[in-house]
């Protein structure tokens, strides 16, 4: 099994990404080859390391009474089960309301797996079930996950859930089951078909347009251009995980 994880590659990408994070398009000059930057993975070819999928969430457009992304995620990924203890419910994406104690200013935003470039969940996994694809999407390989839940503890974003009950309502393209840990997949089954994640689509359909999905490595993508223009934030940037999900307005 290929793990896009070796140290030298990481070092290189880390350095390139730090530049890209700070300076946007300008940083793509020395190390990265512009021509090779491609949009979606060609069928049969698999995920490409030239792509880095990412998301930008504009908290100024996100409405606190809206739950469209969460609902869309649940129906796309077949999260239909109701647990007796709601604290055990799988949350691939959740809505969070923030309030600054001093100014009283409020923000609403969706929170999900941040698809870290250096994911702690992958570092701690004893079975290599937690893994990062070449294009930056972090997944759990349920075939090898033993449900130890180390990754849940390691994740600084509380992004992972453990499936507590026997499931029968899985969607064919999104297998999930009892005893394994799971989290947002960026709707990898849709992305590989050239579609955008269900939450992003639902947010646009609800006319909020607070979510933008695309290739952070492609200077022509809408997301890369916006990141080059406006100030965006990585949540807990101090951890230096270089996350793939960025927020605007917080």
């Amino acid at each position: 099994m290929t793990e896009p994880n070796d140290k030298s590659r990481r070092g290189f990408l880390g350095a390139a990404a730090v530049g890209a994070a700070g300076l946007g398009v300008a940083a793509i000059a020395p190390g990265l080859h512009l021509i090779e930057v491609s949009q979606a993975s060609a069928p049969g070819k698999g995920a490409s390391s030239k792509v880095r999928w990412g998301m930008l969430i504009d908290t100024t457009k996100c409405a606190s009474d809206c739950n469209a992304c969460v609902k869309a995620c649940n129906s796309e990924n077949g999260i239909s089960e109701v647990l007796k203890d709601p604290r055990q419910a799988s949350q691939w994406i959740r809505k969070i309301d923030l309030k600054d104690a001093k100014s009283g200013i409020t923000h609403s935003l969706p929170m999900m797996c941040q698809h870290c470039e250096h994911p702690p969940c992958v570092d701690v996994c004893p079975t290599h079930a937690s893994m990062k694809r070449a294009d930056g999407i972090v997944l759990v390989d349920r075939h090898t996950c033993i449900g130890c839940r180390y990754c849940m503890l390691a994740c600084p974003y509380k992004a992972r859930s453990f499936v507590h009950m026997t499931l029968t309502e899985q969607n064919p393209e999104v297998p999930r089951g009892q005893g394994c840990v799971e989290s947002c997949t960026f709707c990898v089954h849709r992305v590989d078909k050239g579609q955008i994640p269900a939450c992003v689509e639902a947010c646009a359909n609800a006319e909020h347009n607070a979510m933008l999905f695309g290739d952070l490595n492609d200077p022509n993508s809408a997301i890369a251009q916006r990141i080059a223009e406006v100030k965006t934030t990585q949540v807990r940037a101090d951890l230096k995980l270089n996350v793939g999900v960025r927020y605007q307005g917080i």
């Binding site: 999260i79 070449a134 297998p175 590989d192």
Partner: protein
Amino acid sequence: MVRLLALMAFLIMGAVASFATHAAGVPKPMVKIEGSGQCIAAAEEMRLNHMNMLGHQRDRSLRQGIRGEKASLIGCVDCHASKSTGSVLGKDGFCESCHAFSAVKVDCWQCHQPKANFKATGTAGAVGAAGAVGAKP
């Protein structure tokens, strides 16, 4: 001693009886193939190797993102789900009947959907999750 003899006789009779059943043949599973069209390989090859085909494909598909390969569990279900139950499971189901006969446990369906063209509602969860979210962190 008498008891022991009786027990031995009982065991031997049991063995003979079970041998007799085997000699008569355990009924073979009725594998009904309802889908039309061609499988991705000959039946012999599929019987011997489907687990390897799917096992290697799943790693490439999940870990490397290689999609659209010949072997695919969704493909199996689409063709082989029973027209009456809609599933590859159940007593006469394509997967379960054969696996029960050969006494090989099949774990695929703890996570994978055994019904063709299944669409999860997701709505019950949405209510539940929204409730959980309502309790602000």
